[in-house]
Symmetry: D3
Subunit: 291 residues, 6 copies
Amino acid sequence: MSNVLKLGLPAGSLQEATAELFRKAGYKITFPSRSYYPAIDDPELHCTLIRAQEMGRYVADGSLDCGLTGHDWIVESDANVVELSELVFSKVSRRPVRWVLAVPNDSPIQGPKDLQGKRIATEVVNITRKWLASHGVTAQVEFSWGATEVKPPKFADAIVEVTETGSSLKANNLRIVCDLLKSTTRFVANPAAAADPWKRQKMDDLILMLKGAMAAEGKVGLMMNVRQADLSRVLAQLPALKNPTIAPLADQDFVAVNTIIDEDTVRHIIPQLKAAGASGIVEYPLTKIID
Amino acid sequence: MSNVLKLGLPAGSLQEATAELFRKAGYKITFPSRSYYPAIDDPELHCTLIRAQEMGRYVADGSLDCGLTGHDWIVESDANVVELSELVFSKVSRRPVRWVLAVPNDSPIQGPKDLQGKRIATEVVNITRKWLASHGVTAQVEFSWGATEVKPPKFADAIVEVTETGSSLKANNLRIVCDLLKSTTRFVANPAAAADPWKRQKMDDLILMLKGAMAAEGKVGLMMNVRQADLSRVLAQLPALKNPTIAPLADQDFVAVNTIIDEDTVRHIIPQLKAAGASGIVEYPLTKIID
Amino acid sequence: MSNVLKLGLPAGSLQEATAELFRKAGYKITFPSRSYYPAIDDPELHCTLIRAQEMGRYVADGSLDCGLTGHDWIVESDANVVELSELVFSKVSRRPVRWVLAVPNDSPIQGPKDLQGKRIATEVVNITRKWLASHGVTAQVEFSWGATEVKPPKFADAIVEVTETGSSLKANNLRIVCDLLKSTTRFVANPAAAADPWKRQKMDDLILMLKGAMAAEGKVGLMMNVRQADLSRVLAQLPALKNPTIAPLADQDFVAVNTIIDEDTVRHIIPQLKAAGASGIVEYPLTKIID
Amino acid sequence: MSNVLKLGLPAGSLQEATAELFRKAGYKITFPSRSYYPAIDDPELHCTLIRAQEMGRYVADGSLDCGLTGHDWIVESDANVVELSELVFSKVSRRPVRWVLAVPNDSPIQGPKDLQGKRIATEVVNITRKWLASHGVTAQVEFSWGATEVKPPKFADAIVEVTETGSSLKANNLRIVCDLLKSTTRFVANPAAAADPWKRQKMDDLILMLKGAMAAEGKVGLMMNVRQADLSRVLAQLPALKNPTIAPLADQDFVAVNTIIDEDTVRHIIPQLKAAGASGIVEYPLTKIID
Amino acid sequence: MSNVLKLGLPAGSLQEATAELFRKAGYKITFPSRSYYPAIDDPELHCTLIRAQEMGRYVADGSLDCGLTGHDWIVESDANVVELSELVFSKVSRRPVRWVLAVPNDSPIQGPKDLQGKRIATEVVNITRKWLASHGVTAQVEFSWGATEVKPPKFADAIVEVTETGSSLKANNLRIVCDLLKSTTRFVANPAAAADPWKRQKMDDLILMLKGAMAAEGKVGLMMNVRQADLSRVLAQLPALKNPTIAPLADQDFVAVNTIIDEDTVRHIIPQLKAAGASGIVEYPLTKIID
Amino acid sequence: MSNVLKLGLPAGSLQEATAELFRKAGYKITFPSRSYYPAIDDPELHCTLIRAQEMGRYVADGSLDCGLTGHDWIVESDANVVELSELVFSKVSRRPVRWVLAVPNDSPIQGPKDLQGKRIATEVVNITRKWLASHGVTAQVEFSWGATEVKPPKFADAIVEVTETGSSLKANNLRIVCDLLKSTTRFVANPAAAADPWKRQKMDDLILMLKGAMAAEGKVGLMMNVRQADLSRVLAQLPALKNPTIAPLADQDFVAVNTIIDEDTVRHIIPQLKAAGASGIVEYPLTKIID
């Protein structure tokens, strides 16, 4: 079955966000109820919903050709997979998650050395053990099935827990001591699949579209009319890295400038563009950007 | 009242979708609660909600000048109306509906001839009777008020029922024997209204906008920069029927290409465009397309 | 703290609409639960939710540098503030609100003179008293805590009440006698803040973006290809005030025309453009317009 | 299969109310999605959801042994069935439905005689035709697929429509001319099934429980302590038809009175009971009453 | 119109709770949309929704005969009304509301004397001014339209605000300094109406039913069988104030004990009853209790 | 802190059902958002939400005195705890859960012996390994993070999974081979806590109330009047194990019978009671039953 790519998608809380990303990238995914095989409108893709924690295991043993999962779970499962791409959203709010060591606010623990002989609860037992070993510390690491942040001080002395904004830790009166690992979403492949030309091309095209959709989040298009005489002043306001399109108009004194900028810089740039002589400034939405 | 066009809209399950289509076409429709006269922001249109089954009857007798309904109900009611347009969505998922003959999975019925003397339940009694007559078969056709698919085998030997994906039939352990009729939405007019110049122009303009909105579903805009030397290779990747806009840029080595393509081909075309030399590829959404 | 602008936002029913407007203008506002200090992604802005009725008071005394509130409440509180901008939505449905004198349908009151000695319930006691004085009328004006429209005839002879469409008055069997005040949303500033160069620039930029977002509501972009020979006929169909962009194409017989028009005129203009020779007409959405 | 009773339940708008009634009567009904065979926790009952309009047809021909449907549809379909019970809710708000002749408010039609030669739209074509014949009137009766109340005056001169409170008719500016038929829910049986001893007993028991559950709606239990000397005065306040339970207490001066009364008379009776000497009056809820 | 009692019900946040209380008391209240005259199934009652703040004013001037409102608003408006009943829920969670003086956590204000010359924001301007006067303090009291707890320290030095649990104050970093007024719901009457025999009887009966429904909240019925020999030990476990019903049984060694107790003491009493020899203990729900 | 009982409640899907059970038992539990320490209205109870899988671990080590969890997780964690009570709902629908061995429908595996050398995915690794050992079978048991039923045949040859109705297994085309363990909810205690008289009494009282609330689910009260002459016939219809209350009435020919029966036998018993001479049969709801 050389013309099918077996793709693992993370089940659970990320499922809907992943489907949304694929939709933006141009794929229609639907989830038949009570099935873990999402339907996708590309006969060359066969999707399976798998827990992020197990993705590495099943991509490594070839049950899947490739999959999306967090860098953290690849490290935790020590899976033999190839990372083909990091999928980072351009939106500021989508920060990488961090695995941190956290203790009660009034705990005396200030660093790894203070963990000697303590009880640590965590979902990432292997990451935690390796990190302790790298600091020459011996402690009791217990697997936590969830609700880890409620455990100190009664059920654990410290925890290693994932956090994005830290608010859940704070709400449980915990203090972050230090970071163990930062993690983002990765597109990982089975080594043999990555070496197969057809599968590799299929994966590269898919990654191109996913990254194109992600790049468009937080970006907008900007069109404006500029008098030739003002053109250099207007261009000076645009971000250096961007390469705007400049097209002639019927009125030869004017040109049309068209560019892509970060959505959250629009409010700073538009007043400057207007001051520099741009007129008829129009912002429009984008759905994909491939540089 | 020569300056008013009396327009029938299908009541019931299609009501919200129709209003959405009109909104995309540039009309604001609101449904005052418990009234069947939707408000529309065009004083020359007077809308009435009517069941799709009855649209033909009331357009034919001039109670309405025109209306939207399915081809199936026009045939069933044998109404004397003019079909001005077929309104077909470009989206793949919006398939025409089919009226099919269905029987229990284990029924011996394999074709029309096997229906002789049987009981058939259906909402389209006239279509069914004509079809039986065309096969020289005599059977008992009973009008079904709904839930038709539950009737075999206890309440009927076979049914003639509408289906889109067949899943409801399958869920009731029914098997499709053959098709009687395919049906899509039509814009139908009273013959006299179609011959009145003002009404005809009004209907044609309305159809133009409805089709423009429908055409934009499933289409996207694509802009990119292309080096003159790569232009022919890039253009070769675009669908033959499309006529892309090619505009000069300040940097005379480059041109800006702007085109409209099917949303579900984007994922195939973008990798090819990039391979052919296109850069700064941007996809943007559209709301109407009038060729 | 010269680099912070203290901005008041109206609490209550307008809160979500205001946040939506800011989001369209490029600001991300979130409302932490049970806090009246919305978070905004601009460290130079400090937002506070305040009732519209009190905005004038707190901007006038410098507790806030500026704020959004209705013209009505500025008049009612007689606050010493500077109106920097009127924020009017281009959408037809967003009409200014009116404060009107209303009486029971069967009341003999026909004008201000008939109010002599009567009981009037209202939320705007000061506006009402001044208006009565301007007509030389003496009446008992009682502050109404709400549900004002239920009060006549048992609890008041007349009311001064705000209305947009009049439907709530009609539902309570009230008749509008005359208008006292029309009101739209205003951006008001403390006089000293308006004279501070940094604060003034910050406020002007903010207003520019808010107005850019509002201008884009109810507008759309329109692109089309036009044969040179048809250009003047096509341009004649476009609104006189708009200045379309006309760009050359590779095929020198054609030009690309790009313009912005009111969404609710699209349905009239597109058929005319097509009749005048335009082809490949595409409508696309906009998010900001700064002329 | 002599030990199974085939029971038809009305599909559609009454479905959930019927299931609720059965639950109150002690049966657990669940509706598997996309199936018309509800599951019930009595192996001797086999339920099928059928439109109320068709219940008579399928009970008459023995496809079903019995079913719940309206008296109106039994008359319309002229079905040969036995009415075993009328299921009337004790709650005042559950009034019987009425089929009425309705015309526009300004129509000249005042009675059946004025219908000669008119167009009448209705869902109950047979009832309407018989009623017209009984008045010696000839008119055009058209089957209405729904939204009947919107049809006058444009699509019909009059309608025969079902109504409970008349508010939908009023909202469409229609006036009730006269009543054709009052209808309540009936438990109907196939004549042969009604003559089968086992089926008849099963149906009678089911009816007993349904009526017991219905009787309890709108009733409450009332317990109180009464001094022997006050007993006759207290009993005089209770509805004559009720037979209260009077039990002795340890303190022989007192008795405990326990009775069932209509919920909406409680507020009148309790003050009187208290005035007559009752103490410790307690109201408690009931779920079934079988006299 | 001597046979109608004009009853004011508090509009706004208490509206649904009030309707629920009336329903439990045996009255069916419905709220027609956009009307302030709720429908009630007692032709002798005419209900009007009025803000709690204005209830005193309109009961005092005879626009209403009686109404439900808070003790606080009667005091604030200094209305000349008669309090016929305090309506206190037996449920522990329904505590009286308190009007308190609150200041920022780090404010130096410790008591009324520290308010000299300060700005105080409040909805109860009159209560606050009188209270300040009673302490010989002069301060600036500003009417607050709402969101009062957000005002300190920027917009006020202190506030007088209503609170039930204090959590909203705490969330805004405010500290309670002292109480000004406790308030519960009252049934108030116009003095003339209270002196009218028919109206007074009607009001007394209504209050009896409202209090009966309120008394039943948080109470349950308890039935049990007790051996004669254990009776005194069992009775000793029941609250002293309650007077249980003791009825003989067929088995003369046993009696049936039936009593009403607080729901939140059930869990303490049942183990003791069982230990004392009670068997077959059954708890059942109540809807009204009139002692 | 001898007067506090540390009680663990299962977090996650059972959380709301547990709170509901406690509420029925007379305890008010509320869940402050983002806290794992539910508030309960008994100062002698301190609640913590803990995953069911970890309950055994933390009760065994004394972090908690007691907790509710499944028998399965106690076995899996091999925790040293005392089972004080099995909490079984009387409702038929609340069946015990089963851990079963399941394989694809077309798998050749028919019993434990066929598992030799196979891959088995499960959440209960220890239970599975012990069970395999007891059959002398060696297989690869992999911990499954969830979605276990999707794994065969691609990711596992067999699974050990929990099921109630088997429908999720069936939907994934799996077949149950055999059962490993049945499990119900248990109230478990730390051995030292169970030996502490105060804690033990507190736990026993709590269990008494929980079981009283559970016993009342699916039971109802039944009152009726019976003529002395019919009493023995009526009593013969009541379940043998129940001991009805028989009380004399004023009319000495009659007695009042009061009993508790299973809700799902009501529909069989009531027709028989009526046939045996009972009258005025009334069914009423119960909230607790302690035999």
